[in-house]
Symmetry: C2
Subunit: 422 residues, 2 copies
């Protein structure tokens, strides 16, 4: 029976029980952390072989000495593997340094300074720049557009991607210059965009000729089971729709090999790549090719990458399973929360009773359980309903995830009964 | 006897001889390249041990797992070595990814977007931004300020650094926001700034409160002999002078270990570092710590770095020696050129007869010898005297350097006699 359906006495009994549980929780002096989407040591261990590569084999297969300067596109050895994995033509996939977030920041900030290849003027010279932000979404995306002073407009995430009616309406405004997305196993919802949504994003008319969708495919192959998601070639969809420059397509090995020491990828139309490269060639001489070569040697092939992802799944799927089971067992009957059930990615998105997310995070903190701050998955950290909490279960051992989540469930219930004034 | 002192018949004889030599040169169908300041394979081989590092030892000495996310400052292991090498306090030395040019671009372009920590407004909102450019200088520096639309003002390089009277005069203009320098074994002159010049740069009054000197110490330890240059702590000089935020101090291992795959460093005042880190933390999560750790393990200490530099010197000093000997033997008596005699760095700067540099490069190209384009070491590629040529002798084997330089000498002479109308 949900809290709202309980008779007053039953509700009072439950409240007393929850308060007692919370006191017990505090007494345990826990120090647990579910805040960051970091891989666990056990996952990193999967790739230790990479730590000694490339060894003496410092030449790319075209003969390039990767120890010397040059090549803004990155070496073909790794670009070919990634192109196959993402279902894209290799000539449209560039390999960079370790961080795709770096590349996204550069793309947006360079558009601000100079305009992009379809801009009538630099974005800094626009009266206002607006940006479509499906919510909840990735906090670091929103921080980039916040730092540049863009007006961020929330669009709700539905089951198979953002609300496309809302998006189509927004992009009629020429001040709307772009949109953040995490199309596969999204952060924090775990939602994967359907082929329909991808197609509609590729096809929709936008008032701004220089409108861009950051297609941050950070979790393209990050499954929890054995089934890899369908690969959607949005670059082709966009070209067929007459919008060839619509997507800035990002990917990286950060949560495949080593976080912060992997290889990032930027795929886009030839025109977009030429624009990017012209600026990147002013910023520097080229990415770390030795790290790219080491990765290519280590993966061997696209199938090599998938084999590694199966090992990651074996490590983290039990943690996700624990979270879901505890949420169901502790909260399922009370109608105080809903949550996503991702088949991949790094997060579970938990919606608690409206108006109580910040209180849940506070209660958890006071019981020694660190949760990502309420509102973190929204532009300006403002969750209009104060209900969303991002759970990141990958880093701690499964036993800690269980203890932490049981505690979180208590906090969710306590905040809910507090809200009811019981 | 110089060309100008020769009697008409003697000059005609010399011209005929030079033309014959040039014809012979062309007949050899050479394909030689003195354009880029790249290390030779032999130099890269010095460091092959690094290619298998860090191996299984993935923890920094403070226990950090370098395989995971985090740490915008870089790991202490490598920062301590570099701080000792540069004579700077470790807390003011941050370690980044592979390219210091990347960091310079970010510093300047972020000042453009947001202003730096001493700006009254973003540089984009200034009516005009001007930049002091000692010439000849590093082409990639000038390209950054060109791309941002800054007005670049040439200042001549003297024997121990830029003409400080000229610099002091220029910085009275509040639109002058910064200055490029390569203070040790400069590109392309090989000139090292004296302690007096460093002190005057630290002490001079500038009208702009947010004026910055990019102190690009790219060749800090890149000697051709055994004697390492005196380390000047410009950060301390600036602080003592009441201008603590004056210098953005850059360094990297690019020409110590692997070009484009090393570790770059940014040293500055605590305030400057805090400003940089606030923006860098929006751009990304942190640099590649595994590469930093591998470098720290490989170097071991500051003395370890110097030992590597002695090996580089053994490889490239003979090439510099060849260039200088051929210039002296072929051109010394004719008064058609002057050149620098660097004790370190990657370049020799050659000044030919005024108005003939572009012709020399053209003649060389037609004889199969690629030289850096005339004017490359000047803002907008405009050498007002059309006389400077940058020679980069490190990449080819010494035999090729000799053949190429002998050919270049012929081209210098031919252009000179052409200029005299002989």
């Amino acid at each position: 029976m949900t809290l709202n359906e309980l008779a007053p006495e039953a509700l009072a009994d439950l409240a007393a029980k929850v308060r007692a549980e919370y006191e017990e929780l505090q007494a345990r002096n826990l120090k647990l952390d579910l805040t960051r989407g970091k891989p666990a040591s056990e996952q990193l261990d999967i790739n230790n072989e990479l730590l000694a590569l490339p060894g003496e084999n410092f030449r790319a297969k075209d003969g390039t000495d990767c120890r010397n300067y040059g090549n803004l596109k990155g070496i073909a050895d790794i670009r070919e593997i990634w192109a196959e994995l993402l279902g894209l033509p290799v000539e449209l996939v560039y390999a960079g340094d370790s961080s795709s977030l770096n590349i996204m920041f550069d793309l947006v900030s360079w558009s601000y300074i100079w305009g992009n290849n379809d801009s009538e003027r630099p974005w800094k010279d626009e009266e206002k720049v607006k940006w479509v932000c499906p919510v909840p979404g990735y906090d670091r995306h929103f921080t980039i557009t916040e730092t540049l002073g863009f007006e961020m407009i929330n669009v709700p995430m539905l089951e198979d991607g953002p609300d496309m009616d809302a998006v189509r309406e927004l992009v009629k405004d020429p001040q709307v210059k772009g949109m953040w997305t995490v199309p596969v196993f999204g952060n924090p919802t775990g939602i994967t965009f359907s082929e329909r949504v991808a197609r509609e994003l590729a096809e929709m008319e936008t008032a701004a000729p220089d409108f861009r969708i950051v297609w941050d495919n950070a979790y393209a192959v990050h499954v929890l089971g054995n089934k890899f998601p369908e690969v959607i070639n949005v670059l082709e969809l966009a070209e067929q729709a007459g919008n060839p420059n619509r997507f800035w397509f990002m990917s990286s090995t950060s949560k495949i090999t080593f976080a912060g020491a992997g290889v990032a990828f930027f795929a886009s139309s030839a025109e977009n790549l030429a624009w990017y490269t012209a600026k990147a060639g002013v910023r520097g001489i080229g990415p770390n090719k030795l790290n790219q070569l080491a990765h290519a040697q280590y993966f061997g092939s696209a199938e090599g990458v998938r084999a590694i992802m199966r090992k990651h799944a074996a490590s983290i799927a039990p943690k996700f399973q624990s979270v879901l089971e505890i949420l169901e067992n502790r909260l399922g009957e009370h109608g105080v929360a809903t949550w996503t059930r991702p088949e991949g990615g790094y997060f579970i998105s938990l919606d608690v009773v409206d108006g109580t997310a910040a209180r849940v995070v506070e209660l958890a903190r006071e019981a020694g359980i660190a949760l990502t701050e309420a509102g973190s998955s929204f532009p300006l950290h403002e969750d209009p309903d104060n209900r969303n909490i991002r759970l990141a279960p990958t880093l701690p051992p499964v036993e800690e995830v269980e203890v932490a989540m049981d505690g979180v469930a208590t906090c969710v219930l306590l905040a809910a009964v507090e809200k009811l004034g019981v």
